[in-house]
Symmetry: C2
Subunit: 153 residues, 2 copies
DNA sequence: CCACAATGGTTGCAAAACGAAACCAAATAA
DNA sequence: TTATTTGGTTTCGTTTTGCAACCATTGTGG
């Protein structure tokens, strides 16, 4: 009775969640985006149990989200760094952050600003090719043949 | 030894994950965005255990992501619908979907298109006020006072 | 060089969450 | 009226989580 596998549900969202959909993984990724690289620093900043951290880091490395780099003079000192795939989760993490700020109020001491201008970021939105923002009501789900998706039931 | 609580970590991302950060919640939200509303349809389309589904729907309702609407003629028939807060997760779900398509290949039979034009959506990106896309390297984390955040360690 | 702390784990245990299946009552359809 | 659908709850065995203890290297201060 293992946890349900999401990677074979034929759904992109499911297979994304299969990689980073647990309680800790995205928090680890977010922390890495803040600059954290060392095992101990992840542990202290997140307050995560060591065995869970170990397990999550391994899974993130397995899935190509992070890499373990040997930085010891004679081995046995490591850094965990985001890969391109991991850094590409920036959109997801930022969207989550803004969603939480918008609906739960900003209980975060940290703010994200444009490095160049120091201005706050624009809200992350889904857009069409012309850059117009789209809500879920402005899109359609179609199958390979372009036919509109019909909900069973 | 309860599951670690994320809502008091003083981090927006953490408190977002506290609401929708488990394996199933975002999948339920995604399914609701496809049009699913009924308990049984969620169960069949996701293949989730009934007790877990029940628990997750309750939590989503508690957190204001969905509402339970009575649609029975004499009660006892319900629909679960997204609230504005729930619909606002569209960005997160779409970013996850695109991330997975980009890095794991598209194993999804479903495509998202602009309802008006039928064109595929633009990639979700983080942007500055001028609409320029930003990567994680183009942003800075600052505290309330505007001082740059320094990583401990 | 030696003692001591830090790093990056692993192991064992108890509590909690999960998954599957059985069961159940109300509402609806045949 | 009987059967089926809906929306659950209960039970039970397995897995995951959190905590603390332990351990082998690796660095550091003297």
């Amino acid at each position: 009775m293992t946890r349900k596998r999401f990677d074979e549900m034929g759904c992109c969202v499911a297979s994304a969640l299969n990689e980073v959909g647990d309680w800790w993984s995205l928090l680890i990724v977010k922390q890495a985006m803040l600059g954290t690289r060392r095992y101990v620093d992840f542990q202290n900043s997140l307050g995560i149990a060591k065995n869970i951290l170990c397990n999550r880091l391994s899974r993130l490395v397995e899935n190509g989200v992070m890499v373990r780099v040997d930085v010891g003079e004679h081995g046995k000192r490591y850094e965990y760094r985001l890969t391109d795939k991991g850094r590409d989760l920036f959109t997801v993490v930022t969207a989550l952050r803004q969603w939480s700020e918008r609906w739960n109020g900003a209980q975060d001491s940290m703010k994200l600003v444009d490095r160049q201008t120091g201005e706050p970021l624009a809200p992350v939105t889904v857009q069409n090719q012309q850059g117009q923002p789209l809500t879920v009501r402005d899109v359609r789900f179609v199958d390979e043949n372009g036919k509109p998706f019909e909900e069973a039931g």
